[in-house]
């Protein structure tokens, strides 16, 4: 491109002063001025921002919740909803700081590099702790590096087919798949995800042969069902608008209890498959946090999950409220780690967990 301009007969470049630049100049000349300038600047800046460390009752300043996903995602929005209600109870701002990366592990690693003073916490889906850590070597121990504070929300998982599909119930679909091995294709939100594990559980029960087409996230997988490229899909919360709009039919939900949004749809457990969602959104602190402070945070967040404002916000973003206190969530993690480990090994996704749990 430059060539075109240069070759122009009257390129109007007027070379100003052709003074060659000597890198050393910058520091030799006016050296004392430079130092003085930097020193002066620091004198202005440092007192301006360094806040005196005064020990008072917790919390005496704002609390940061690290979130390992981008703003606008379901984890981020759920954490923001909780933070907003918790601020009122704690009396200090609760700020969400997004640290996306490492499928959510960057934020957890970042939490461990902070002081365990209760002013930095991390909002994470349980799947990052107990699922991702089995695939990838991560710089933390899922059971022992963190102190769980609260499990507070979960996505709506379920199995959907297109509205004009011949299957009215999951039983129809299973019967058809058994009759035509290797013909039924299904979409999930990725290899090793909870949505795939649910289908694995169904397939294992009937020794079904189906073709798994993994997609990146629910939106892409939903598009594949609507376009007729796969017969059914196992999805997360994105299924809600499409089921409500009548584009898809929900055959089963993947959760402990029936969904408040679709009371007439059975759970997998009711249909005889021992599987329920293992991805619950939680807040964790570093494990060496002062126990009294941890208790204070736990109580405040527990109260926040009961507020009307919080429940409305969750409803808007298609998330379901759940509640696990710190102890219950710890048990949840330990139980599901084993289940996931067995499942991943039996399907050949991993040979051994990449990270030891404790």
């Amino acid at each position: 491109m430059d060539k075109i301009i240069d070759s122009h007969p009257e390129a109007p470049y007027t070379s100003r002063r052709v003074k060659y630049f000597h890198p050393g100049d910058m520091f030799v000349k006016n050296n004392h001025w430079l130092i003085a300038a930097i020193a002066a600047w620091m004198l202005v800046v440092i007192p301006l921002i360094s806040t005196g460390e005064v020990r008072a009752a917790y919390p005496d300043r704002s609390i940061i919740i690290l979130v390992g996903f981008v703003p606008g995602g379901s984890m981020d929005l759920s954490a923001r909803a909780l933070a907003k209600s918790a601020e009122k109870i704690l009396g200090q701002p609760v700020i969400i700081e997004n640290k996306p990366g490492g499928t959510g592990t960057v934020a957890l690693a970042a939490l461990l590099s902070q002081k365990p003073d209760g002013y930095t916490l991390c909002g994470t889906p349980s799947s990052v702790l107990i699922r991702v850590s089995q695939f990838q070597k991560v710089p933390f121990k899922p059971f022992t590096s963190f102190k769980p504070i609260i499990g507070f929300a979960e996505p709506q998982l379920g199995i959907v087919v297109k509205k004009d599909a011949p299957w009215k119930t999951l039983k129809d679909l299973v019967a058809d798949a058994a009759k035509h091995p290797g013909k039924i294709k299904y979409a999930t939100t990725g290899v090793g995800s909870t949505t795939q594990a649910a289908v694995d559980e169904i397939a294992a029960g009937h020794k079904l042969q189906m073709i798994h087409i993994p997609y990146k996230g629910s939106m892409e997988a939903l598009t594949a069902v609507l376009g007729g490229h796969v017969e059914f899909a196992s999805l997360t919360s994105e299924l809600i608008p499409s089921v409500k709009a009548g584009q898809t039919r929900l055959l089963a939900v993947i959760s402990e209890k029936r969904s408040p949004k679709f009371l007439d749809v059975p759970t997998l457990k009711e249909l005889g498959y021992n599987f329920a969602n293992d991805a619950v959104f939680a807040i964790v602190a570093p494990s060496d946090i002062d126990l009294a402070i941890a208790k204070k945070i736990e109580e405040a967040f527990a109260a926040a999950t009961k507020s009307r404002e919080y429940l409305d916000a969750l409803d808007k973003i298609n998330m379901l409220p759940v509640y696990y206190d710190g102890k219950a969530f710890d048990a949840f993690l330990r139980y599901h780690w084993k289940v996931i480990n067995k499942n991943l090994k039996s399907t050949g996704a991993i040979k051994e967990a990449a990270t030891l749990p404790e």
């Binding site: 006016n30 930097i38 360094s50």
Partner: protein, 146 residues
Amino acid sequence: MISSMILFLLAAFVLITSLGLGIGSVSNPQSGFMPFWISLLMLAFSLILFVTAYRNSSSRVRLADLWHKLHWQKSALAAAFLAAYIFFLPWAGYLIATSVLMIVLFRLTSMKTWTAALGAMLAVFFSYGLFSFILKTPLPRGIWGF
């Protein structure tokens, strides 16, 4: 020619890694499938580039010509200071590291020291204010907590 060799080496590296990942079969392509084929293509095209560059070596511009009559030291210094900046940022925090960097950069573009310092101060002050207070995105804190 140099560029073709660098690309060749990059491709060779990817090729070796892809073998380690497992290429899989056509009916079940594994993680190494794509890196394998892409790196093979890269190897081929970088060879073509090398050969054509070698053939036209008479008309080739020499490496030094690319930087001839240019103040390349400025670009090199700016790049070096940016690298140093990344290294010191997590330790010194945004305010200090960026202030120093901006003074250096303003000096590089041949500004006087005091104007450089003033400009740096203003720039850092405004950017910090914009991000920390208006956009509520905390900028990196150093070991002293700011």
